[in-house]
Symmetry: C2
Subunit: 201 residues, 2 copies
């Protein structure tokens, strides 16, 4: 049951802020099930009572963790989309511009992918956040590719999504240092190839 009343990330009390920050670090570095609420409370310098008063449950805290991370990532992309030029191909590739920066926080892999592996219950309030993060990126590619003049963007959008997600895996697990740049270059090649293969422009 999604009866969990979602927390408003914009109006967090100081204590709640600290709880969320600590939980984010611990969940990401150690895994969600591996971190207990006692640890989170202690590490935040807060009592367990406060944690439950602010967030209601561990599951809701997990959802808030994912939401805040999703929000930060999207804002990085939104910023570049706003300030960036109007060149349609560049707009498609904005997530790959952000990727090197994002990878700095991804030594332990992608938080959403990791959480997906842990949250098997389809009703868990965090599941939606995870799926939406990925579908949002897929949508971004679809939309911007269309604007760039790609008639059938679907397969290419999936390819770009795969490159993007896989780069995080290649970097964090296989230790491929240049994964972000490699993925960026590949993405550009594929887009240009599609444009050429489709007629002139």
């Amino acid at each position: 049951m999604p009866a969990t009343p979602t927390v408003d990330l914009d109006s967090l009390t100081p204590g709640a802020r600290r709880i969320l920050d600590t939980a984010s670090t611990l969940f990401y570095e150690q895994g969600i099930h591996a971190v207990g609420v006692d640890t989170i409370a202690a590490e935040s310098g807060v009592t367990k009572r406060t944690l439950y008063d602010r967030f209601g449950s561990k599951d809701a805290l997990v959802a808030a963790y994912l939401q805040s991370r999703d929000r930060r990532w999207r804002s990085m992309i939104a910023t570049r989309l706003d300030e960036g030029g109007a060149d349609p191909v560049s707009r498609v590739l904005v997530p790959f511009d952000v990727l090197p920066l994002w990878l700095d926080e991804c030594a332990r892999g992608c938080s959403f992918i990791n959480a997906f592996g842990e949250l098997h219950d389809a009703d868990h309030p965090g599941r939606d956040v995870i799926v939406e993060e990925k579908t949002w990126l897929l949508d971004h590619f679809r939309t911007t590719l269309t604007h760039a003049g790609i008639a059938e963007p679907e397969p290419l959008a999936v390819q770009l999504l795969s490159l993007h997600e896989g780069a995080i895996v290649a970097y964090s697990i296989a230790g491929a240092a240049g994964a972000a740049e490699a993925a960026h270059a590949a993405a550009r090649s594929l887009v240009e190839l599609a444009l050429v293969g489709q007629g002139t422009r």
Copy 2:
């Protein structure tokens, strides 16, 4: 400490076989920390004592789970490499031939990536298996690309690894049905592009 004496997957007692099978299903579907040894034992129709007599610890069972999965996946690739023709580019792309089949078992994502997110302890006996699975694939691409006549295979190998891993993510989380085929096509394009861009043959 890696004091865990690894289990020999080839000489498992009937009970141990059932334990490993059940554990594999449960670990993959629900996550490693979410499944207790009591559940595994009960579901295997075996006592907890037997589980510990055969595997020694949960961590060792986890490692065995990853090893057996790694082994099955590699054998799928090895088979096609053996029987397949000698066309060097086809050999590079064999993992992408296997991918659609492999994705049938990947509704909950990649077991290695998921396990990586859960096993934060660098000393965990499963960590090596995970890292080796990914580096082995990267190595495969590097080697076969070299045989295909690519002078500097490194960036391309990373791109192919990213495509491969990302396709699992795109399929399992974003619900991209044609992810395997899309990744395969992209991989082929990138390889051919590299061959062309490098001079004639």
